[in-house]
Each structure stands twice: as C-alpha cells, then as structure tokens.
Symmetry: D2
Subunit: 139 residues, 4 copies
C-alpha cells in the first residue's frame, strides 16, 4: 500500500516518457490514494475566449491517473488508457492554471480506476470531472 515512487522520481519518469508534454504538468501533492496535478496553462491549451480546451483537460486527467498509477506500481509496468468519461461543467477561468485532484478508486491486477475533479486555481468550483480507466497488460 506504500508509494513506490516519490514526486521527484515521478517527474523524471514523465519527462522521459512524454518528452513533448511533460513540461505542461507539475505534481503538487502526492499520497497513497491521491495526486494533485497542475496544468501550467499556455497559449496552446486555449480555446477562443481564453478558456482551456477540452482536449487539454482530458490530457490533464489522463496524466494525473497515469502518474498516480506509476507512483503505486513503479515505472516498469506498461499501462494504457482503456476508457474515459468526462463532464465539462463550467468555463475554466481565463489566465489561470487548472488543478486536478485525482483519487485512486481501484488498483486491480488488470484494471485501475480513478476519479478526477478539475478546477481553476483560486476557485473551488469544479470545471470538469473525469473518470479514467487504465489497463495493465498481463506480462
């Protein structure tokens, strides 16, 4: 039930695995069943009107659960997203980073499920909610 990787090791791992996008994200908090991931919002994440795009929020939820999973099972495991459902509820605030709180709901041998609530920094209104499932292929 302990963490196999800490924040620093996870950060390095993300940079290695996702060199093109890892700089967009920063781990803010990490515990056994929770991770908080920040999307460092930049121009390429925006839609007209200055709000963060849907695909950027999707990517944030996806990387949050991926990092949570790696923190628990270590870097050797392959893992792929198998399904995601996401509700967009409010416009993210313009010019603000987005914070994602991901809770690990299930860490099975095959399937891993997490819940992600996202909000703009400085607000407690949920802008989007995602549930993500990863599968860990049998070795």
């Amino acid at each position: 039930m302990a963490l196999v990787l800490g924040t620093e090791e996870l950060t390095e791992l993300l940079a290695e695995i996702f060199p093109q996008v890892a700089a967009d994200f920063r781990i803010e908090e990490l515990s056994e069943n929770h991770i908080q991931m920040r999307l460092l919002v930049q121009d390429r994440h925006l839609r007209p009107g200055g709000t963060v795009s849907g695909p950027s929020l999707f990517a944030l939820a996806d990387v949050a659960l991926y990092a949570m999973l790696m923190a628990r099972v270590g870097p050797k495991a392959l893992a792929v997203t198998t399904s995601a459902s996401i509700d967009f509820m409010r416009k993210p605030a313009a010019g603000q980073d987005v914070l994602a709180d991901c809770k690990l709901l299930k860490l099975g041998r095959v399937l891993v499920v997490g819940d992600v609530l996202m909000r703009s920094e400085g607000s407690d209104k949920v802008v989007a909610r995602a549930s993500m499932t990863y599968s860990i292929p049998p070795e």
Copy 2:
C-alpha cells in the same frame, strides 16, 4: 442555496412518482450538496452469486441524483436523465444493502451533474462509481 424539500417530503414525492420502486430506496442523509441513498437490497436486485446487479446499481445512482435535484429545485420541475457513465469496480457484498453518496457538482439552469460513489454497508471500498446528468427542460 437552501433545500426546498426535506427528507420526509422527498420520500413522499418519490413514492408518488415511482410507486413501483420507491420502497427499494431510503434517504439516509441530506444536505445542500449531498444525499446518501440506501438500496434496501432484495431478491430481485440480485445476480447469481448473491451480488447486486448492475441495473440495480444504476437505478440507485439515478434515483439519488433525482432526489438531490428535487430537494433543491422542488417538485414542480420536470427532469430527465440525459447521460450516465458508471464504473463497476468490485463485487458488492452478498446480503448487504448498498449505500450511495451523491454529490451535486453542478446545478445549472439546464444541466445538472452529480457524482455517486456506492459501497456495501459495513465496508468503505467503492463498489461502483457513477456520474449522472439530468436536464431540466425549458418551461
């Protein structure tokens, strides 16, 4: 932001609107953004092996958000489920009621979104997670 209906009034409303199934459910807790609904598990909710069926868990999540919504907007509003996504994570315990904790994430003029975590009584493991969206038709 206050509750328009209390537990008793909600219970009566459910009995009136869903006469065939209302006796399966009981409101355990109610506050402005949260409701806890119990599924009083009976034979007809079960699958072989004694676990609660998927459609029964779906119905539980659905009625939980419906009751939460009615508690906030009152009995006059029409409301229909427009989408649902549900992850089944563990087998519910045999012979136990299921408790659903529903959080209201958005109460818009048109769309209402809630998150539901379900677990067997006496356990804190999540057996299923649902997100439900209701729409309130324009009058």
Copy 3:
C-alpha cells in the same frame, strides 16, 4: 470467428443465469458481430407517462452485450460488466417494445467492448445509445 452458441442455446443460457429477468428479453437476430435484443416492455419497466425507464434501458444494453459475448466465447466463461456509458436522447414510445442493436467492437482476451443503439419498435429514431465494457477474469 464463428458463433459458439446459437439463438436457442443462448436463450436457454439466459434463462438459467438470469431466471428473474430472462423472460423480459428476446433475441431477434444474431450474427458474428451483431445481436438484436428485444425488451418485451411490461408495466414494471415503465416510468410515469408510460415511457420505458432508464434502468430498464440499461438492463437491455447490458444483456445484449452479455448474450453477444456468450455467443462468441461460450457459456463457461465468467464475465462482468466493468463500465457503461449511456446517453438518453428521446422518450421511448409508450406501449412499444424497445429493440437494441448491439455491435461487438472488440473481443479481447480481457476486455470486450460493444456499442448499443436502442429504438422503439416501429421507429428508426434512436432513443438511447450505450457503450458497455465487459471483462473476462483470467482463469
């Protein structure tokens, strides 16, 4: 790639596994990647106004993919629903059966994914769309 079970054998299997609800459903068509399942609508499937309830549509989609899967892998395999997402788009017609067309999109060793379109008999308007995932536990 062939069918392991035909319509008759499937019907018997459903009756054995789901004795309480099997009589609600009837297989109308079956081929390698498609099944059409009918919900024989009765009072207990209805909501006020005479429309078919959300949980009944969920159950229809669930049993459709389950039968499709059994038709392909045979009755010995255990299989459990792991996730479902469903959109409710229109009111089902009052007093009509609902027909579900389920397409098998993936039949993996572990995960099985199907798409289900549901409509009221006599109409070609989609009343609900579901995607269902089953997992087959490793033996």
Copy 4:
C-alpha cells in the same frame, strides 16, 4: 434537414475558430448525418512507440462532432462540449492518419449527441469509439 455549410465553408470556419489546431484536421466526407474527419498525424500527436495519443483521439472526436453540428446549424451558434465518453480499444497503427466517422444521433434545441468511430487509415479495425455531447446555450 439540409446542410447549412459545405466542406469548404466548414474548413474556413475551423481555421478561424481553432487557428492553432485546424491544420491537423481535414474533412473527407460530409452529409446530413455523417462527417468523416481525418487527423493528419504529426509528431506532436504521438506517444512513445509511435502510436497516436489519447488526447489527440479525443480532440479528433471533438472536432468531428463540432464540424457536423456547425454544418447543420451554421456558424453563428455557440456550442460547448458538455460530456464525452471514449473507449480505447486498439493501438493505432504507427505512421498512419486516423479517420473518424461521426454520426449525428440527436440534434435537439439544447443537446446534440454524436457517435464517433476511429480507425487507422488502411484498416477497418476500430481503434477508439467516442460519444460526445454538445450543448447549445439558449440565446
């Protein structure tokens, strides 16, 4: 029931509204209830191993339904994604564009629902399936 915008006008509209990403997509086919959208796969869409990333497939499904909707209701309407559910079923082929076939299932006054099947060019295996809902805010 007719198309309000054709392929050329839609292409211009996407370029105007999504200047940063419109060059990634190309409309291949368009009819009243169907659009085929191509993701012109480039390095930034890839994950290690050369497969197309989940967020890129999400963006493809999202833009496909958006374009389908604009083709039907015209460029003046505001529209926002309200929910999405996506199943990832197979690895996209390395070095191939991805083709998305989007079917319009519902075009309501408020809610718009579409189904999207995605596959790598040259294959008929579905790599991902998405259902997307847009809402059109009341004016």
